[in-house]
Symmetry: C2
Subunit: 272 residues, 2 copies
């Protein structure tokens, strides 16, 4: 069984697709074709959307699902006329919130992901630049400004995790690769030792690590299972010896790794 | 007036905070303290959360708001006993969805941001690595694999936009800085010319560009308003001459820039 789901917004569509995606993830047995339609901000665009929805209804022989975060009342009501099952996010929640807050919502379009406070937004972008500048041990001078420093063997997931934490939560995350030398000596490089309270370890299943490394340098010693197995075993031993908290990334998404680390390390999200 | 808002989840909390953030953005006049509480997945943790909520209620002399995406019925119902106004996302929408889909939801925790299909997740992480490898004109060999190539003057927002598109939507985005030489000759570097249909331009207000550049190299010619003004004027002239679509990033967030470019360029989101 296949159903089509539309995430429709007069803004970026991010809220609508995030919510819709979460709700649909609760239905395992059904295959969903998921289509995001952002910036539906005129009645003309609404007409085209309705045609697209009705075409999907005909094709699927089942009515599509709509997850709608359209703010504009006229556009939203026009979309309701499509042949679809509709989850109307703002209608469902804004009225009760208005009552609770004893305030009128401003019904302005595109507020969810706009820049609200310039200095907060800037801090977030600065964190992204910080993550890039401090990727892969490239710099060590700025570690006093870091909120967290991820450590682990090459290709265990440090870079995407740092970038996600920066991008999504404004966290200043650096990362440093632990090399074979570090592992053989069983100690941290000096540049890290003085920031030990900021360190967080990543580890990974050796088979998965070998697969990832093979893509970069196939059939190298670096990518061999023996080498990956050695490095992972030693890095975990080092984390335990030094009391560095660590997480195994093998089965987690960057969203899960990032939020788990932040929860464990007590880092507050800085969103704008 | 200040109110405290809690985004509570037994998973990452990302859905809850995204939705809550969007709804609260509709109330301009009220200041919200926003607190995300992820991984509330035991009754013990629920007890602590309730204490935290009730403490906020006392302190604010107004009941806090809760945006709740907890899946577990027992934990969710325990949280309901806190002294708060609650928006219960899954309760509101899962039942009607079950009815529409004629299926039971699986009520499993942490599905929203978990890895569902490994190959799709891998493609997304590959896109992040692609963005890093192809940042700032570092490589030009892989442009045939790019979905889009952002072009613009130094520091106009190319890198964070590429990373966001990769991270959030799995888009393979490269970027290439147009230099003074390129602008003086009024033509594209050869490496770009053959990929013209993939190019998308970014431009920016010269004052903001000068401010950003001053932070990197203060009082340099590079950061002078004259230079920024010249580069922006010339780059816009070049975009128009060559018919390269472009967007002014000055007042847009990376979410808005990314989703607008994708909508304009007809790029489909590849989410997992």
């Amino acid at each position: 069984m296949k159903r089509t789901a539309f995430f429709i917004s007069d803004g970026t569509g991010i809220t609508s697709e995030t919510l819709g995606h979460s709700l649909l993830a609760q239905f395992d047995g059904i295959e969903f074709e998921q289509i995001t339609l952002p910036y539906v901000d005129t009645l003309d665009k609404a007409e085209k959307v309705i045609q697209q929805i009705n075409a999907a209804a005909q094709r699927d022989a089942e009515r599509p699902l709509i997850f709608d975060t359209i703010v504009d009342e006229a556009i939203r009501s026009r979309i309701s006329e499509a042949d679809a099952f509709k989850i109307d996010v703002f209608s469902s929640f804004l009225k009760p919130l208005e009552q609770e807050l004893d305030a009128r919502s401003n019904y302005s379009v595109g507020k969810s992901h706009a820049i609200v406070e310039r200095h907060k937004y800037k801090a977030r972008i600065d964190s992204v630049n910080f993550a890039i500048d401090n990727d892969d041990g490239a710099r060590i001078r700025q570690y006093d400004q870091a909120d967290i420093i991820l450590v682990g063997v090459s290709r265990c997931g440090k870079t995407p995790t740092c970038l996600y934490m920066a991008m999504q939560f404004g966290i200043r995350a650096a990362n440093y690769p632990l090399t074979e030398d570090d592992l053989e000596f069983g100690r941290l490089p000096e540049s890290l030792a003085e920031h030990r309270h900021k360190l967080y370890g990543l580890t990974i299943d050796p088979f998965q690590l070998a697969a990832i490394r093979h893509e970069r340098r196939s059939n190298s010693r670096y990518a061999s299972l023996d080498q990956c197995d050695f490095e992972v075993r030693e890095v975990e031993r080092l984390f335990k010896k030094l009391g560095v908290p660590f997480i195994n990334t093998t089965n987690f998404s960057i969203e899960e790794i990032s939020t788990r680390i932040m929860a464990e390390a007590g880092l507050e999200r800085r969103m704008s």
